[in-house]
């Protein structure tokens, strides 16, 4: 009997460790294999026994299931339909995630691990680069720059190159890179070592954000195991931990940060390929980009280029989060429609609510409405509708999410994270945030929409780095597709989604309230009053609109508009 348990951050947050301990205590003889995230995060904690998979476990349930398997008893626990969840997915980057033990190099080697590196050693640098170029792989970190071209530019430079993996993953709502590093760290290391051979570099650096302690731990284990076995040859890899700055995902800022400075971007050229870390030629790629490399070398460029569309080859990993049933991680061929991702793999919207939009690409991306759900997942189609492919975060929102608030949320983020070096980003994002805040507080003026558009256009062209250049995107797309929501906030001082707190009015339906006093007792502002068993009322002077009463009321007597 083979038992595996998913031990990635999401599994652990859902209680996988407690389950593991319970199993160990109860069945001292059974062996439990640890794996990374298979992507069904909404079902965590997960356990697989031979080919049967079970989710939403508790320690008791897990023990009962193992007991039944051991003793061939019948079991009424529902199994997870893995085949359906994995249908239409095509797994290249996630080929080993959820299957191998990320802390075991033998497991990785057992699945063709390090064979691509061995193969690459028998190729000339130009042959490797030409294979990557022919595959059509484009950078998965957001901008989609062709990887083969990037490598060939770096190779042309004199001297040894730094090979950097960008694992800063600062986009809120994205966790692809974390899952790859936690589930299959060797694939990234192998990709980097191949990059070293191709471009001529013997020093690799993985820049990981400090918020990912488990990814860092597993990377460390992987690096020392690969070095112990001598698999990396002369190629050395070290880890640098970020310190919490979104802008450090931008390549020139990332370099400054590794050099120990404030992580401020600088004007390019010179590009890192010419003058990067400590002034030396440097090549930076994203985690997912690197993880594709061993597969491309093993299977060949043609196999990769066969998947996807004209301008976007291969697959893309997406994180599905927000108001959908099946949150988690999926890897789909380029060219699939957004609808197939959200309603097929994501299982549609939670709690019977209505779909409103997909936020794709994080703070640099945009919101795509229902009418455009047929849009294809590829670089050009997404850009055409005003969003971007981005790094792969998809947050799905329903009718209860206010699109003006979403725009305000992102501007708050970019404004906070702006490094302050260039004026348009530093001051422009601040002004846009002020306007959006004003609108969500019911103080918006009719001229605000034009003002937002004017600022957005200027900030886009005049900012120094990608952070500022793309910061207006969330505003521009929400204005393009949800302008009526802005107008209702401004003209009627009302939030149609009932999300903007300052615009809400809570009241108690006198015919439904039974006077149970639950809300009155719990109200943190002591704003609810009334006699026992008599309908209660809200003191509007005191009410802070926190909404706790509405979440507590068993009679649904608290109304909000």
């Amino acid at each position: 009997m083979k038992i595996t348990i998913g031990l990635s951050s999401c599994g652990i947050a859902s209680g996988a460790i407690e389950i593991l301990e319970a199993i160990k205590a109860k069945f001292s003889s059974v062996e439990v294999k640890h794996v990374g995230c298979i992507g069904f995060c909404f079902l965590e904690p997960l356990m697989e026994i031979d080919d049967d998979m079970y989710g939403n476990l508790t320690p008791d349930k897990a023990i009962k299931i193992i007991d039944c398997h051991l003793n061939n008893l019948s079991l009424d626990e529902p199994q997870i339909d893995k085949a359906t969840l994995l249908s239409v997915q095509e797994r290249i980057v996630l080929r080993n995630c959820g299957i191998i033990d990320p802390e075991s190099i033998e497991d990785y080697i057992g699945r063709e691990g390090y064979q691509a590196l061995a193969k690459a050693r028998g190729m000339s640098p130009d042959e490797i680069i030409s294979e990557v170029t022919k595959s059509g792989l484009r950078g998965r970190g957001g901008a989609g720059f062709p990887t083969g071209l990037k490598w060939s530019l770096a190779k042309k430079q004199e001297g040894s190159k730094y090979i950097i993996c960008n694992a800063d993953e600062g986009d809120p709502g994205a966790f692809m890179d974390r899952s790859v590093l936690e589930g299959d760290p060797h694939s990234v290391l192998e990709g980097m070592a191949i990059g070293g051979l191709a471009m001529g570099g013997d020093m690799g650096i993985v820049y990981v954000r400090a918020e990912y302690p488990l990814a860092i731990k597993r990377l460390k284990i992987a690096i020392s195991a690969a070095e112990d076995k001598g698999l990396l040859g002369d190629f050395k890899i070290v880890i640098k931990e970020g310190a919490g700055a979104f802008v450090c995902g931008e390549e020139t800022a990332l370099i400054a940060s590794i050099e120990g400075k404030r992580g401020m971007p600088r004007i390019r050229p010179p590009f890192p390929a010419v003058s990067g870390l400590f002034g030396r030629p440097t090549n930076i790629n994203n985690v997912e980009t690197w993880a594709n490399i061993p597969w491309i070398i093993n299977e060949g460029a043609e196999a990769f280029a066969k998947i996807g569309t004209e301008g976007s080859k291969g697959t893309k990993v997406f994180c599905l989060a927000g108001k959908i049933e099946q949150t988690g991680l999926v890897e789909v061929p380029m060219g699939i429609s957004l609808k197939d991702v959200v309603f097929g793999l994501g299982g549609g919207i939670k709690n019977g609510k209505r779909f409103k939009a997909i936020q794709i690409g994080g703070p640099s991306g945009g919101c795509i409405p229902e009418e455009l759900l047929q849009t294809k997942v590829d670089y050009d189609s997404l850009t055409k509708v005003g969003a971007i492919m981005g790094s792969g975060g998809m947050v799905i929102v329903d009718e209860t999410t206010c699109m003006v608030d979403v725009a305000r949320f992102f501007l708050n983020f970019t404004q906070n994270e702006s490094c302050g070096k260039c004026t348009f980003c530093r001051i422009g994002t601040k002004r846009m945030l002020e306007i959006l805040t004003r609108i969500t507080e019911g103080k918006g003026e009719p001229k605000d929409i034009d003002l937002l558009i004017e600022l957005a256009e200027k900030i886009k062209v005049a900012s120094l780095c990608g952070l500022g250049q793309t910061a207006p995107n969330p505003i521009l797309t929400t204005l393009r597709y949800f302008r009526d929501e802005y107008e209702t906030h401004i003209k009627e001082k009302r939030c149609p989604s009932l999300a903007c707190r300052n615009l809400l009015i809570y009241s108690i339906d006198q015919s439904l309230c039974t006077g149970c006093m639950l809300c009155a007792k719990k109200c943190p502002a002591h704003a609810i009053f009334g006699e026992k068993k008599m309908p209660h009322k809200i003191d509007y002077e005191k009410c802070t609109k926190c909404g706790l009463c509405a979440s507590l009321c068993k009679e649904n007597a608290i109304k909000v508009r």
Binding site: S14, K261, G362
Partner: protein, 150 residues
């Protein structure tokens, strides 16, 4: 603080200026925050200017200049958590613990900070206490989570 042995020991384990961020991370791990004395000692020992060091400290969100509570609560305010009610979770936490801003609780048990994304978005809303994540939180479940640390 007059005893600099520990700081000096840590400082001597790093090689050069480019290590400033790892040095600060290591020292913060040791002391929970970066006091002025600690920063001054780095200045003396490494020859970097105080302005340069302070500039780096204030640039990165990870570094703290004030002492924190025994347990650090990080409330995720990423996109997925935001649309799933992160504001309300934070409000309940603050009420429950009576914490204001970045000051620790009176009994010194907790500090609270906002964070951009914990990377557990599939389980939104999420908080992290020390190194443990809690997902799919509800306002009414807050007390139970906190009780683990009291």
């Amino acid at each position: 603080m007059t005893d600099f042995t520990k700081i000096d020991e840590i400082l001597s384990s790093f090689e050069d200026k480019s290590c400033l961020i790892p040095i600060l991370q290591r020292l913060q791990e040791e002391y929970g925050y970066l006091s002025i004395q600690v920063l001054k000692r780095i200045e003396e020992k490494t020859g970097m200017s105080g302005a340069e060091i302070f500039g780096v400290v204030t640039f990165y969100a990870q570094f703290r200049l004030k002492p924190q509570g025994k347990n650090m609560i990080k409330v995720c305010h990423g996109t997925a958590c935001h649309v799933s009610g992160a504001e309300k979770i934070e409000e309940s936490l603050r009420q429950e613990l009576a914490v204001k801003g970045d000051e620790p609780t009176e009994d010194g048990l907790f500090s609270l900070e906002k964070i951009a994304c914990l990377g557990c978005c599939a389980l939104a809303p999420v908080i992290m206490i020390n190194k443990k994540c809690y997902g799919k939180l509800e306002q009414k479940g807050i007390k139970r989570v906190l009780s683990e640390y009291k």
